[in-house]
Subunit: 201 residues, 2 copies
């Protein structure tokens, strides 16, 4: 019997998936939670074999949650389910010890198989996504460049970014400039947009 934890903030999906997987004779859905912290808490109490996590969740994103689980409960196998799979996120997920990466465009029937494979310790990555990630290559941006891009995405001015990151305006502009060059963008907002689409933010 595979003991499964489900984390997804969309009740509708979580409920439906739970109902579907519960029909499988060898799968037992032991917990359903809606956010990262409660997933962590439930996992510590119930020690599931497999944790199936949504990538987009309030409070704690799926990757952070995966990292926390890896550190605290290394025996738990982790599968990530996501809506729009951005290539860069795959890199980070794999580094966090995630075994499976499934887009929500996958067939519902295939989910049970993913759970079984992950439970057996096998990797299970969407092939399209894997090639996309390979083509995009690793992120060329430095941590600081990522920081300023993250702030830019919300439309912050250089002044505001400089304050928030405790930097000079000139420094911020330089980081933005190099990031724009690396991403072949005309404006920082375009750069931020692109970096996000590639999953680097």
């Amino acid at each position: 019997m595979i003991r499964l934890l489900l984390a997804d903030d969309e009740h509708l999906i979580r409920g439906a998936v739970a109902a579907l997987l519960a029909l499988e004779p060898d799968i037992d859905v032991v917990a359903e939670v809606a956010d990262g912290p409660s997933a962590l808490k439930a996992a510590k109490e119930l020690r599931p074999d497999v944790a199936m996590l949504d990538l987009e969740m309030p409070d704690m994103d799926g990757i952070e949650l995966a990292e926390a689980l890896r550190d605290e409960l290394p025996k738990t196998r982790i599968a990530i389910v996501t809506r729009h799979a951005r290539p860069g996120v795959l890199h980070r997920a794999l580094n966090a010890g995630v075994l499976a990466f499934v887009p929500k465009t996958a067939q519902a029937q295939s989910l049970a198989d993913v759970v079984r494979k992950v439970n057996a310790g096998q990797r299970c990555i969407d092939p399209d996504l894997a090639t996309q990630a390979l083509l995009a290559g690793p992120c060329p941006l430095t941590p600081r460049e990522l920081d300023v891009l993250r702030e830019s995405r919300e439309g912050a001015t250089v002044q505001v970014i400089a304050q928030r990151l405790h930097l000079t305006q000139g420094t911020v502009r330089n980081y933005l400039s190099t990031a724009m060059t690396k991403l072949d963008a005309e404006t920082r907002y375009e750069a931020a947009q692109r970096a996000w689409e590639l999953g680097w933010l």
Copy 2:
């Protein structure tokens, strides 16, 4: 027997929801499609009683699809399901003749009830969302202002926007300026971001 059409580009969710609703004795899922155009085609052929549409779909957004359905098959009752319900979208959906508006954070069990209510011609709007929409009020932006904001969201420069909309740079800047004033934003990107969050783009 309620004949239901399901449109959602996420197979995983669509499959799970279809499986759940098919268990209901009075609901018959007659079609499952992944995008707007095929939903329209399927609806014309099968004449479902209720169409349950995802808001975010490739090619044709849920609202456009609802409008098309209203024009071509006015007898079809429409329910919209969405992930992040932005208030402004509700306005547009209601104008498009949509009866139900359900966030994906709703309970899976409640879905069947929504289908039944909609089939009976009753409205079924998430109360939280309704109050949010009331508080935000109607969109104060003119159509042209919305146009330039839409372009801004992808990080386009004034030059590019002017070209794409066949306007002068000065005109574009003026529209951006008024939009920023109305939205109380420091930069056009912040304005675009805010307008999007309110569901006006």
